[in-house]
């Protein structure tokens, strides 16, 4: 099968370009090619200066999140055969561009950090021996909500798709709040102050219930649901 796909890619090198510009490439679309495969074909045979980020190519690392035909997704998981003959590719929104399709994830992880995203056990130090793992009933609804939340691969798709993130620089964003929920709902976690840290206007109450995050998440996480559970105080432990 000899189908050709035209890629329109937003190119931008902040150190040399005044502003982003569109560049067009046409490749032969081979069977089961993903958008990432297409980008590699361009890089390897047409334009060795193209910039994009990749790692696992199997939808697990979240490195290749970008906007494909305007919609956030992982480039390695979108098949060219499901798109038209022209594909528009842009970097994620609301993050500074490092080069072409690769964005600087620092602001994303800075907000992630703000919710203290690390588990706090009974004996946190690695210098001490570990206690016995807690028995956890896997059928409890809150545990199942937490299980959905921990599937997050921190790819940034939800962050890019959220209009509140775009408008409000202080808003923590869906991924960070989802993480806060996952820990607040974890009966093994000993940090009881988590809810208080995310209940300001830049936290869970800053969410406008738009739902773009749920629509675009490639890992099937529902940040809006996590945020709502935070708002309703549906967590374990006092706060």
């Amino acid at each position: 099968m000899s189908l050709r796909t035209t890629f329109r890619i937003l190119r931008y090198d902040p150190s040399t370009d005044a502003r982003p510009r569109w560049a067009t490439y046409t490749i032969e679309s081979k069977p089961k090619f993903s958008v990432l495969d297409g980008l590699f074909a361009i890089l390897e045979t047409q334009d060795g200066t193209l910039g994009f980020r990749y790692s696992c190519r199997a939808g697990m690392c979240g490195s290749c999140a970008m906007r494909i035909n305007g919609r956030e997704n992982l480039a390695c998981r979108v098949r060219l055969e499901n798109l038209g003959s022209t594909v528009t590719v842009e970097p994620l929104r609301s993050l500074p561009i490092v080069k072409d399709l690769a964005t600087d994830m620092t602001p994303f992880f800075e907000k992630y950090r703000k919710v203290d995203p690390f588990f706090v056990g009974d004996s946190p130090s690695f210098a001490e021996p570990a206690p016995e793992p807690l028995r956890v009933d896997p059928s409890r609804p809150l545990r199942q909500d937490a299980n959905r939340a921990i599937d997050c691969i921190s790819c940034g798709a939800c962050y890019s798709a959220c209009p509140t993130v775009s408008a409000n620089p202080a808003y923590l964003g869906p991924a960070a709040l989802n993480r806060a929920f996952a820990l607040a709902a974890d009966e093994r976690d000993r940090d009881v102050d988590r809810l208080a840290r995310v209940s300001g206007p830049e936290g869970a109450y800053g969410c406008r219930s738009v739902g773009n995050c749920v629509s675009v998440c490639p890992a099937g996480v529902a940040p809006l649901a996590a945020i709502q559970l935070l708002r309703r105080g549906k967590t374990v432990g006092a706060s």
Binding site: G70, E90, P163, G211, S215
Partner: protein, 279 residues
């Protein structure tokens, strides 16, 4: 969660929204379905507000709608402005606005309930009618221009084969429309409180005002108003369900948005007939 200003505001928006739905839809039905807008003259209002049920009804509606709108506007401003100072300042302005308009509205209801005079304190101020027209006219102009701008943008994007970005997500539209209708209804409410204030202050000008609203430039806005209120109410209900019952908030929720839009369009139709036929 611990009580804080933002949390309280969030809950209030939802509770006030839930309480006001029945009241506002009832009010809408009376004003745009059971009667044509042009027939809501001072006589009509007098009859209505001589019954204490309607006085209380309209007063609670005013209170809930004003405060709901205030908190909603607060969100809009918070998303547009990062400066804490500006936010605090706008909080103050909104609070003053709400207090002032609640006072004005209360005065209107109380005074008219005692009966209508033929002339009031401001009866000689003929500039009032064109001013109110201009306010609504401005709102209309902004709405029409925005509508055209949106259509042009999307057509241009289509022609230039540019992606429409997050506008392909139903949640984006639901939110944008909820905001737009909320802001529109809020400003309309402020003008509406002002024109009703004519009843105690300049009863002769009130009927002139109502008649002037029936001009062709503003007619689409009547329809838009009905649509806006219905959409805002239905989408608000959808948000309640999404937030409080659908804990698994799946993207199948696109169906609920489609239902809201469809229901709005269907429910608006009878009011158009009434508007065109009556008055």
């Amino acid at each position: 969660m611990r009580a804080n200003a933002t949390g309280v505001a969030w809950w209030y928006l939802r509770i006030s929204g839930l309480l006001v739905i029945a009241l506002v839809l009832g009010h809408l039905f009376v004003m745009h379905y059971a009667n044509a807008p042009a027939s809501t003259t001072s006589a009509f209002v007098l009859v209505r507000w001589s019954a204490s049920f309607w006085r209380y009804f309209d007063w609670v509606l005013l209170l809930l709608a004003l405060t709901h709108g205030l908190v909603g506007m607060r969100n809009v401003i918070a998303d547009a402005v990062s400066s804490r100072l500006v936010r605090r300042a706008s909080d103050g302005v909104l609070a003053i606005l709400a207090a002032a308009f609640l006072a004005i509205g209360s005065l209107s209801i109380v005074n008219v309930g005692h009966g209508l005079q033929t002339r009031g304190v401001l009866s000689g101020a003929a500039w009032i009618v064109p001013t109110l027209d201009a306010l609504l006219g401005a709102l209309a102009l902004v709405t029409y221009l925005a509508f055209v701008a949106i259509i042009v943008t999307f057509v241009a994007r289509g022609v230039l084969k540019l992606p429409i970005g997050w506008w392909q997500l139903h949640g984006q539209w639901a939110w944008a429309l909820h905001r737009a209708t909320g802001i529109g209804i809020f400003f309309f409410l402020l003008v509406h409180v002002l024109d009703l204030a004519l009843l105690p202050l300049a009863p002769n000008l009130y009927d002139a005002t109502v008649a002037s609203y029936a001009n062709p430039f503003l007619m689409p806005m009547e329809i838009a108003l009905v649509g806006a209120v219905i959409y805002h109410a239905l989408n608000g209900t959808r948000l309640w369900i999404l937030e409080f019952f659908d804990q698994h908030t799946s993207s199948a929720a696109v169906g609920t948005f489609a239902c809201v839009v469809l229901a709005t369009l269907v429910l608006v139709l009878p009011s158009i007939f009434v508007l065109v036929r009556g008055g």
